[in-house]
């Protein structure tokens, strides 16, 4: 890794998120594989994409962002309230509100596929899918 550490991390996370996403798509089309494998790649793709975006912040605490699994759901929440998305839904508050609510719930479920997230309430996860015996 050369140059600005934060920018380099952001680019690396974006590239790997894209690779994880392609693997997710590949695994969803592969016959006979348990679903936990594709879901694991979906979770990793989303986590890295969120990190890549959050690392755009010049004042970002790089070490805090790269070492935590949480943050994707919060990123989605804030992104959906960003100026460009607010513009896109101008005059459609009810629709925008519904999209935000659904997207956040979905993002949170994806985030919880990581074993480190909310283990107390959601022990089931994509990486070690036997916590509840299935």
């Amino acid at each position: 890794m050369t140059g600005d550490r934060r920018s380099q991390f952001a680019a690396a996370y974006f590239d790997q998120a894209w690779s994880d996403w392609q693997t997710y798509v590949y695994l969803t089309r592969a016959a006979g594989l348990p679903r936990c494998h594709s879901l694991h790649y979906l979770q990793m793709a989303c986590e890295k994409l969120g990190k890549a975006y959050r690392l755009r912040n010049g004042a970002a605490d790089v070490d805090a962002i790269v070492t935590r699994h949480a943050g994707f759901a919060q990123f989605v929440n804030e992104f959906l309230r960003s100026p460009s998305v607010v513009d896109d839904y101008a005059g459609q508050s009810a629709r925008h509100k519904a999209v935000c609510k659904t997207s956040f719930a979905l993002a949170r479920e994806i985030e919880k596929l990581a074993p480190a997230i909310d283990r107390m309430h959601s022990p089931e996860n994509a990486e070690y899918p036997w916590e509840r015996g299935n």
Binding site: N57, I65, A70, G71, Q74, N77, E78, L80, P83, V86
Partner: protein, 108 residues
């Protein structure tokens, strides 16, 4: 006449209240509000967010209606209490002193 940064921040805060029922407070951080090179900074207290233990602003690009880069930092009400007790810190350059505590619009 182009919209001022302060007015754009208000427009954005009002829009956020309309689309997020859990939003309890929106603060427009005064630091850099008069400096065109600085982004709009919003601290939002959202009962529906997931506490992360830190306050991390995420920058977003300007848009046609909000022609300013905007940083949004979202925290839970519990994290806001910690912030008030000094157990949590705002990002560098952010302060609540003189911040505009935007009330929820009546219709939102």
């Amino acid at each position: 006449m182009p919209i001022s940064k302060r007015d754009a921040a208000r427009v954005l805060a009002d829009a956020h209240y309309r689309i997020e029922d859990g939003l309890e407070r929106v603060f427009i951080i005064p630091a850099g509000l008069e400096d065109p090179r600085e982004p709009i900074k919003l601290l939002e207290v959202n009962a529906n967010t997931i506490p992360t233990g830190s306050i991390e602003p995420i920058p977003f690009s300007a848009s046609r209606e909000i022609p300013f880069v905007t940083e949004i930092a979202e925290i839970s009400p519990e994290e806001f209490s910690k912030l008030e007790r000094g157990e949590l810190s705002l990002p560098p350059g952010w302060t609540l002193e003189g911040a505009d505590d935007v009330p929820r619009p009546r219709a939102a």
